[in-house]
Symmetry: C2
Subunit: 547 residues, 2 copies
């Protein structure tokens, strides 16, 4: 009987967090997130953990525990639940409210169980203790799992904010008590392990908003993450102070705000909010617009506004646009394109770097150290970070006196195995990613991505060959259809044609009538041809038609 903790996502990368915790044959999942594809995955909408191992051990999985409602922790539920079937889900009130909405949209049934920070509950061999922590979305918890092998703690995403916007602070005392009782392994957020000191409180953004609202003479547009209700609260509070009305553009943000108001996570006075249509009736200095698009997402409200293609709102000089967010790695180009377009339209654009309009939701070095000091774990295994973040986390741990045998580098698929207090790396299990494209069942195979990238980089050449059935004689000149590049002169296609004639002419009738063979020869020959004459490696697609 051993305890295993196996990350199936979120380790050695940022995003798609999913951890499997198993004691003998009782397993629970911690979080179930997605990540967003970079430019190296063209056409892919999102990335989820490959569920094949979970399908294999489906009978063992008794519950999914959630730390908070961010997409990189809950976003894969709509994709994994249909594959795995119904599994009871445990999360805090606001986390479940977000999920409920999302699952209902897709008509996915789920059994949702609300947990309360500070109120432990039993799941088979696991006593689960949710502990309140702060982060950039309301109602977050760390999870302590008391197991027959000892206590392990998942911090989830956290920061130690003493002045959170909603007043709901980290339960330091409970963390301390869990630490006093003894923690075997801490699975800590390591996203900001590179950042020295202590991160700023979320409420510090209000200081900047005060100054900016005072300076603004025209409309104020604010964009942030649709789930950052604390930021949205501060924008609405500031609109209250300066007596501006607030309109929301962007479906996901509208939904989140509606849910947050309903559940009491957002305080809004009556008549403060207006619809986009009502904006025309207000003076510019009476307007705050909250929009999605903080990552430069091409279809978002802000991107359309920046492209001057949003019918209801045209930027004009005097407008102030506040990007109250930071570009997620990989989105920089899109974000700066949006900023540049807004500047060109005459807006004053304020973003992180020229004014403190954003703070991070993740613990900085001193906060990470405090978590270690409070929980006093015997072993450390940072998650939710790339190798560079994990490496920096180890540096911090060494400063606190940890030695390398107490530090574990988690990789997706390769976790820990704990037996009789002994912690070691577990045998790897299959782990990977599944590429999701809306409208494609079961994910996009990697070879498809490979083809797409090759065509994007090098272009494509279709070679059309018409042969006489049985003999394999070329009936006509081969045709070439090329995309993604051009012939460099008129001789090249002629030369290509004669090259094909030559190789088919040399084939014995038996070889030429084996079309697989013909196709293969065409690919090999034209690959060489393109390299030599066109300095490129297009995808070669031979098509043999027999008449």
């Amino acid at each position: 009987m051993a305890l295993e903790i196996i990350p199936l996502g979120g380790t050695g990368e940022i995003g798609k967090n999913l951890n499997l915790v198993r004691y003998h044959d009782e397993a629970v999942l911690i979080d179930c997130g997605i990540s967003f594809p970079g430019e190296d995955l063209p056409g892919v909408d999102l990335v989820i953990p490959d569920p094949s191992y979970l399908v294999e051990i489906r009978e063992q999985i008794g519950a999914i525990l959630l730390t908070h409602g961010h997409e990189d922790h809950v976003g894969a539920l709509p994709y994994l639940l249909p594959v795995l079937g119904e599994i009871p889900i445990y999360g805090t009130d606001f986390t479940l409210a977000l999920i409920e909405h999302k699952l209902r949209e897709r008509r996915i049934r789920a059994q949702l169980n609300t947990i309360q920070p500070g109120e432990p509950f039993q799941l088979g061999s696991f006593a689960v203790e949710p502990v309140r922590v702060t982060h950039s979305i309301p109602d977050c918890v760390s999870l302590a799992l008391h197991t027959p092998e000892g206590t392990i703690v998942f911090t989830g995403d956290f920061k130690f904010d003493h002045t959170p916007v909603d007043g709901v602070r980290t339960d330091f005392n409970r963390l301390a008590r869990i630490g006093d009782e003894g923690v075997l392994v801490l699975f800590s957020d390591s996203t900001n392990a590179e950042r020295p000191g202590w991160g700023d409180s979320e409420s510090k953004v209000s200081d900047t908003f005060y100054t900016l609202f005072a300076q603004a003479t025209g409309r104020i547009l604010i964009t942030t993450f649709a789930s950052n209700l604390h930021r949205i609260q501060q924008a609405i509070d500031m609109a209250e102070v300066y007596d501006r009305r607030v309109a929301v553009l962007g479906r996901r943000m509208e939904q989140n705000i509606e849910i947050a108001i309903q559940r009491g996570y957002l305080r809004v006075s009556p008549n403060r909010m207006v619809s986009a249509r009502q904006l025309d009736e207000l003076r510019d200095d009476q307007i705050v617009v909250l929009t999605t698009g903080s990552q430069g997402e091409p279809l978002s409200a802000l991107s359309q506004i920046a492209a001057d293609e949003y019918p209801r709102l045209k930027i004009r000089p005097g407008d102030m646009v506040i990007l109250s967010a930071t570009p997620i790695p990989g989105n920089e180009s899109l974000v700066w394109r949006t900023v540049n377009r807004l500047v060109r339209l005459g807006a004053r654009v304020v973003y992180d770097g020229i004014a403190p309009v954003h703070v991070s939701g993740h613990a900085y070095q001193e906060e990470l150290k405090l978590a270690i000091s409070l929980l006093k774990p015997k072993y450390l295994a940072p998650v939710h970070g790339e190798p560079r973040h994990q490496a920096q986390y180890f540096e911090l741990a060494r400063q606190l006196g940890y030695t390398d045998d107490q530090l574990f580098l988690m990789e997706n698929g390769r976790g820990l195995r704990i037996r009789n207090g002994k912690v070691e790396y577990a045998e790897p299990v299959p782990a990977g990613r599944l590429l999701i494209e809306e409208g494609v069942e079961g994910g996009v195979p990697e070879y498809i991505i490979h083809d797409r990238r090759q065509i994007a980089q090098e272009g494509m050449m279709i070679v059309l060959i018409t042969v006489r059935a049985q003999t394999g004689d070329l009936l006509e000149d081969p045709q070439f259809v090329i995309r993604g590049f051009e012939w460099q002169n008129e001789i090249q296609p002629e030369l290509a044609r004669s090259t094909i004639h030559e190789i088919i002419g040399k084939m014995l009738p038996a070889e030429a009538s084996d079309y697989d063979n013909v196709r293969e020869e065409v690919v090999v020959t034209m690959r060489k041809f393109c390299k030599k004459h066109l300095s490129r490696r297009p995808l070669i697609v031979p098509i043999v038609t027999e008449v």
Copy 2:
């Protein structure tokens, strides 16, 4: 008779700097740079200014003046000179040394004229005065052009470094004198207009190197820009202090170092440098390796080392890798991938953000203000920056008392026209970019990039139709070849086939025998089909074969 200053690159963007200065029919070009393509230009190697307007006014162009030897200021010469024909080039000693080498490699003849900071020279109606400034490459100058309409100044790329590594400081006094004599328009670098304060001196990197070299027990690998000879000097100096030998990996860096040593821009004691082959004979703590690849370029030495595919150097625990550079926007993902791979191989990786191993070569806000204060220009027109940088530069200018009528937002193609002291926007001239792919003559057309991106995002469907000559009857079932996506079930291709049969069946014989018409119908129909059944918009390529 008017003076015109027209940017053809480098304004409203970072990179490919090229400015046209013309008095009546006498024109000179200031710089001639490239930029590097982002992920939105798949397969493109580099981007140069579209030369078509320059070709049009070729007879007027008397000279190309260069401020310094960075690729974004000189890199387009090998592409533009063959198009424009020989034009005398003026630059400082080291700038010309770099160019000479590059042009010789490509067998391009050029007439190179060495200029000296502080020594004015006459070019037709222009008296050109090069003024020494500091930057992240040796031998940089600002250029003051005394014209019949007054004096204009191009700062080129600059920072005000009081302790440059080569000891060659900015000529503040000459800038002041030019300012006293009166400057009409200042065309200033604005890259770092967002950064408050005063940038660190290049020599501050040595402080960090001291600490890191002291800590290192194994090999030290340092990567930086191949042209940053100041950084390379500091690494070599530190190797001297700690008695390590220095090997260089990467062709471009080897060449630059060779040129710099020859011309006296790099001080290296005898026997300090070793070849890569000699590394095997040294202990790990006797080794410093300088490599290219600071931007995560996939073919660079460092990327190959990180991928564990470099035969001569395998990373092992104990190695320290210093990324003495910062990712150029757009390269972040590649750089972090390299870092993560090096961490996984066991190296300690040090980069900007966890230790001060890099400083910028561009002026911060206080430096930009000092340049304005010294030169006291009547008008300001920031260049070498995106709109967001230009906008921030305007903010600085307003703080110094400039009013909006003194500030000009330059855009590529739209510059300034100055006549009798009156400065106004000039009529736009054609400006744009030319996409360069090695081996492709004359640039890649934009439609090709559009195709590549569409195929990368959505895939491609080839529809093969065989018809009887004259009648246009379908002879066989249409064939589909798809790349970049898959059929979602077996019914879809059947359905697609019958859809094609249907539309061709409905055509009158005259319509069906017009293959252009058939192709168009197939594209429209299959576009609808794919949208409806596959939720995608692949590139549709119809091929009609007649038998």
